[in-house]
């Protein structure tokens, strides 16, 4: 005991020295050894867990995490949520970040909309009159009727939320537009999340590896995707493999959180990622690291291309009775072009020949790989270093590391999507994956992580109901692409008559359109004044709700009776079940749609006024991926893995093993495109073009020409402007939640810049400053951070109208529409992709 006491005294002295407290304690802390029964206060803490009821549900934000939560309810109040640890695959436990944990604060938010309201003052004036649901439905229906008669039904425009927000809820928006023949907006392409390189190369909307597949990789490049901030539930797969010794490389212009958690951060100049990828391709080719079998068997590499017009050589070109859709390859044994056969290892991958056409004339043809190799000559590491700012030896080294690690994976994000030339960046990165044979392999692939699109079931029958059972005719909405709705029509658009209208009524179905739209100035100045009715079904007073004419209270996820959700990178179908009765006068979206349809005379076609039968319908007609999954089973199991061909899921495994072709015209991965528009713009193969706006050099030009020019806009606005995703919000969701905002620095919008740029403009940290360009401005406090590259500013976005002192962070963005994106139009698959990272600005002290 004596030793003990001596130590104690010493310890307490040390403590006193630290604390400088003017007292000392003579005896040992007897209290420390008291038995627990003498501490009745402990029971208060134990008792706080008594009487809790647990309901397993899923949160449905647009981060598309679809994380399961145990909602803990006591006396009818949600106390907190906890991860349920019930994903059948334990690698996925736990899911869910601090936002999901804080959703109940939004359920009880002071900004919660309690009852239907009608605007009485000017728009955005904040003056409302409480109305009854009946009055709201009647008013909306009569206004819709009036507008339909005056301007046409397709000027009633439903702006749908993404599928991750609940298939029943989102699908109901589609169904509502379908049965009434209204216009419907697009989201995936217009958000800038659609990696257009995927439909271009593979003719798929988007395909990516399940995140669990990171475990199979030997080398991972995270390309412009700040996964630590934007994919928190799955980011551990990356840090886990790193702990096991797999090298992680992060390619991005800024020292983002992800840059601090990887082995190597490659700092690339904004918007030059295509050049970097092609530089790596160059090294791969020069070092002889190409996977020729992969190129020959599965890519457009061996397909013959006519050098006179850049088109693929077709059978009809060489034979009078040839098929105009059959692609040709060169057969060395017969020295003749022969019809392409998928997965054959015979065709020549490189070479040029004089081919005799059916009219007897000769035309020079090369394999498309030959042309690609010629083009790659321009991307030697020295030139690429000049373009991208990445040292030549680093380009060389990471190219070799990537090409020699088998399998090696690339995880790309919005950093290379949100650009005018995002498609070229994506195609260049995919080319790198193809050259090294990493496509279609577990642990390999090029997976984009941006946004939400894919549903693990076919929603066709629910979204677009059949007109008559047994016949193929369906009720369909009119696709009015959001990009055109905001921007206005273009000369080069696919179908002006069909795809654009001056809209007259916006039904912002669960999305904060007016708060989040890029090209904010255009939307507010040109489009909005002509809109006669804005309906905002919302839970909280978002920017859109504030600017709406009618605000409808919608149930939160914890009040939703039922819904189902699936996400692409996390292959489960899950049941959403509310734990609370609807608060205030809130109703479900599906009920609101039904009531309006009833008044428009389409209630019988819309049919559903409650989620349960809608779920049953969705599952019954959902196709093979949800075969055997029923609502009853979901109610019991809550989370069920959908039927997928591989686990962990990797796309194209069957294609690259020759089981079937790719879905493209040639049946191969098309690195080479021969549509007129691609040829016209010199984009038949992936090339680097300088950014459309955010460049000091010639805009949208290839390097040889670009470097000789100066961008006049850049002289005026020398800072790249990036409004970016933050960990603290999912777009504007959670941006007004106090618990979350309090953890985000000072809880205000911040213009974040490098100290050098700040000093040059005489701005200090905490100063008010204005970031502006020719389109608009935003005023905010300045945060100074070395993490932001000199010559750029970052503003983490999502702030609501009342949180921004002046202007809007999206007021500076303007998206010119890239004609390549208009080659075809398939809603959310091929359409204008927003380039809101392609912006410049200047900052001055406010």
């Amino acid at each position: 005991m004596s030793t003990s006491r001596r130590t104690f005294v010493k310890g307490s002295l040390a403590a006193l020295a630290t604390a400088g407290a003017p007292f000392k304690l003579a005896g040992p802390a007897l209290a420390a050894l008291q038995e627990p029964k003498d501490r009745p206060w402990e029971d208060a803490l134990r008792d706080q867990f008594a009487g809790e009821k647990i309901v397993r549900t899923v949160n449905l934000p647009n981060c598309t995490g679809s994380c399961g939560w145990n909602v803990i309810v006591k006396d009818g109040i949600v106390m907190r949520v906890e991860p349920p640890y019930d994903y059948p695959d334990d690698e996925y436990n736990p899911r869910g970040c601090m936002k999901g944990q804080t959703y109940h604060r939004r359920v009880y938010s002071p900004g919660r909309i309690k009852f239907p309201m009608k605007r009485i003052g000017p728009r955005g004036g904040g003056q409302w009159r409480r109305i009854s649901w009946e009055e709201a439905f009647d008013f909306i229906a009569s206004e819709i009727k009036r507008i339909s008669e005056k301007y046409g039904k397709n000027t009633i425009w439903i702006y749908p939320p993404v599928p991750a927000t609940g298939l029943v809820k989102q699908g109901a928006g589609f169904r509502f537009a379908s049965v009434n023949n209204f216009g419907i907006g697009t989201f995936y392409n217009w958000y800038g999340d659609l990696p257009l390189a995927h439909p271009i190369t593979w003719n798929v909307q988007t395909e990516e590896h399940e995140f669990k597949d990171v475990q199979n990789t030997k080398y991972a490049i995270i390309w412009g995707s700040d996964v630590l901030q934007t994919r928190m539930p799955d980011a551990h797969f990356f840090t886990d493999v790193r702990a096991k010794g797999v090298k992680l490389v992060y390619i991005a212009p800024y020292f983002d959180p992800t840059a601090s958690a990887v082995d190597e951060w490659v700092r690339v100049r904004q918007g030059t990622d295509a050049a970097l990828a092609l530089g790596m391709c160059h090294v791969v080719v020069k070092r002889g690291l190409t996977d020729e079998a992969h190129l020959r068997k599965t890519t457009s590499g061996p397909l013959l291309v006519r050098r006179d017009n850049g088109k693929y050589l077709k059978q009809a070109d060489v034979a009078a009775d040839g098929d105009p859709k059959t692609f040709m390859v060169y057969d060395a044994s017969s020295s003749l072009p022969v019809a392409d056969e998928y997965f054959s290892d015979k065709p020549q991958l490189t070479g040029s020949w004089e081919i005799v056409l059916k009219d007897g004339s000769k035309v020079r043809c090369s394999t498309s790989h030959t042309i690609f190799l010629e083009q790659l000559e321009d991307y030697d590491p020295k030139t690429v270093s000049e373009i991208t700012g990445v040292p030549a030896d680093v380009i060389e080294r990471i190219a070799i590391e990537y090409a020699t690690a088998k399998p090696a994976s690339i995880w790309a994000g919005t950093g290379i999507n949100h650009w005018y030339h995002g498609d070229l960046m994506g195609r260049s990165v995919i080319a790198l994956g193809c050259l090294t044979g990493n496509i279609g392999r577990n642990g390999g692939g090029v997976s984009p992580w941006a946004g939400q699109y894919l549903m693990r079931l076919s929603p066709q029958d629910y979204f677009f109901p059949l007109k008559e059972e047994g016949k193929p005719d369906r009720h369909r909405p009119v696709p009015l692409d959001t990009a055109y709705v905001v921007n206005g029509p273009t000369e080069t658009m696919f179908n002006k008559e069909k795809l654009w209208r001056q809209i007259r009524c916006i039904w912002a179905a669960g999305g904060n359109l007016l708060g989040e739209a890029s090209d904010q100035s255009n939307l507010m100045r040109k489009v909005l004044p002509q809109v006669e009715l804005i309906v905002s079904p919302e839970i909280e007073m978002s920017t859109t709700a504030q600017l709406a004419d009618i605000v409808l209270p919608v149930v939160s996820w914890y009040e939703l009776p039922f819904d189902i959700t699936t996400t692409p990178a996390h292959p489960y179908i899950q049941l959403v079940e509310g734990s609370l009765k609807p608060l205030y006068e809130a109703k479900t979206d599906i009920e609101i749609y039904y009531e309006v349809c009833k008044r428009l005379g389409t209630g019988d076609i819309f049919k559903f006024n409650h989620p349960e039968p809608a779920i049953e319908h969705l599952l019954a007609t959902g196709g093979p991926k949800v075969k055997g999954i029923t609502l009853d089973r979901l109610k019991k199991e809550r989370v069920i893995r959908v039927n997928l061909p591989s686990s962990p899921y990797a796309p194209f495994t069957e294609e690259v093993s020759g089981k079937h072709k790719f879905k493209t015209a040639s049946g191969r991965q098309e690195l080479y495109k021969d549509e007129d528009r691609f040829l016209q713009f010199g984009e038949h193969l992936p090339v680097h073009k300088e950014p459309h706006t955010a460049t000091p050099y010639g805009r949208s030009k290839v390097w040889k020409e670009a470097k000789k020019e100066r961008n006049p806009l850049y002289e005026k606005y020398p800072l790249v402007y990036h409004a970016r995703h933050t960990r603290w919000s999912v777009h504007s969701s959670w941006r007004t939640t106090e618990d979350i905002v309090k953890l985000d620095d000072i809880g205000q919008p911040l213009i974040e810049m490098n100290p050098k740029d700040a000093a040059a403009r005489g701005v200090a940290a905490g100063d008010w400053a204005t970031a502006f360009n020719q389109h608009g401005y935003v005023k905010a406090r300045v945060k100074i951070r070395e993490a932001v590259a000199p010559g750029a500013i970052i503003i983490y976005f999502g702030w609501q109208r009342e949180q921004i002192r002046e202007g809007h962070w999206n007021a500076l963005t303007h998206n010119d529409i890239n004609p390549i994106h208009e080659t075809y139009f398939i809603p959310n698959v091929w359409g204008p992709v927003s380039g809101h990272f392609d912006q410049l600005c200047e900052v001055k002290k406010a």
């Binding site: 400088g20 206060w41 906890e82 928190m232 601090s260 958690a261």
Partner: protein
């Protein structure tokens, strides 16, 4: 930590307080996402009441500039704490672009083997329970706040509404039900291992003693299903061991920052532990006191 040191610190019951178990944590900083899920899970469980608005038993800040709480209030009073904006300077790295470093430092209460707060309490309300968890009796605390000043880690908070000092309880009511603390359970980066440091068979003590054990899947001894948590290999350190309180929260220090900086946070130029003579006294029995 060498086997010898483990024996010294955890191989015996606590020489002063007699606890035969010492619950602790191992946090892999290399894997931290900086997402604050731990902070939020803790806040919604323990500090969502009046007077606790800026109280985070578990906090995460971006080292080196982020600090919680900050002391930069009154120059006359270095111990005037500022609890507001707990995540100020988030993602503000040190260095000059592009040579930068930062790391996320998640900190719950250390539940020290030799806590500085405990002897500072004039009402003897602070005690170490049989699991080694340091608690403040809310019935007897009179809010003198000497503990707040004594804790070198600033992990005790004064609640101006209840007029008591409060701190992390390592979720002991949940431990009693066989569950892990909220910050561990909710950690979506899967960076935390929790367990009894004094149990030679526990995962945490094995992981701390053998730095090469990191990549093994982890079966927690608690009632949860097996959880795949991968911890980086490499040295395990305590945060600021130089305070001498023998913290029970261990870290795998960040690999991406200069070694000299690691030493400032996780060793203070002592290369880790304070390896001073620290004799292990004989077992304490109730009758000795």
């Amino acid at each position: 930590m060498s086997e010898e040191l483990w024996q010294k610190y955890y191989g015996q019951p606590n020489p002063k307080y007699g606890n035969r178990a010492q619950y602790g944590m191992l946090i892999d900083i290399n894997k931290c996402l900086g997402c604050h899920s731990c902070t939020m899970a803790c806040k919604h469980t323990w500090t969502n009441g009046p007077g606790q608005e800026d109280m985070y038993f578990n906090s995460v800040s971006t080292a080196p500039y982020g600090k919680y709480p900050r002391h930069d209030g009154d120059p006359k009073d270095s111990q005037k704490y500022d609890y507001r904006h707990s995540n100020l300077y988030q993602d503000t790295p040190k260095g000059t672009f592009p040579n930068l470093w930062q790391f996320y430092l998640a900190r719950p209460c250390n539940h020290c083997a030799d806590p500085a707060c405990l002897p500072a309490c004039p009402t003897r309300s602070i005690y170490k329970n049989k699991d080694g968890i340091v608690l403040i009796d809310q019935d007897t605390c009179e809010g003198f706040q000497y503990c707040v000043k004594a804790c070198p880690y600033d992990k005790i908070y004064y609640n101006p509404v209840t007029k008591k000092s409060q701190k992390c309880v390592f979720c002991f009511p949940l431990l009693e039900k066989g569950r892990e603390p909220q910050c561990v359970k909710s950690c979506v980066g899967k960076i935390r291992i929790f367990g009894n440091l004094m149990d030679p068979e526990s995962t945490i003590s094995k992981l701390i003693r053998d730095p090469n054990l990191g990549v093994q899947p982890y079966d927690p001894e608690t009632g949860l299903k097996a959880v795949h948590r991968v911890i980086s290999t490499g040295e395990r350190r305590q945060y600021r061991p130089d305070y001498g309180t023998i913290p029970s929260v261990w870290y795998v220090p960040p690999r991406n920052i200069p070694q000299a900086e690691v030493e400032k946070y996780f060793g203070y130029a002592m290369q880790g532990l304070i390896d001073e003579p620290h004799p292990v006294p004989p077992e304490v029995k109730m009758k000795d006191i």
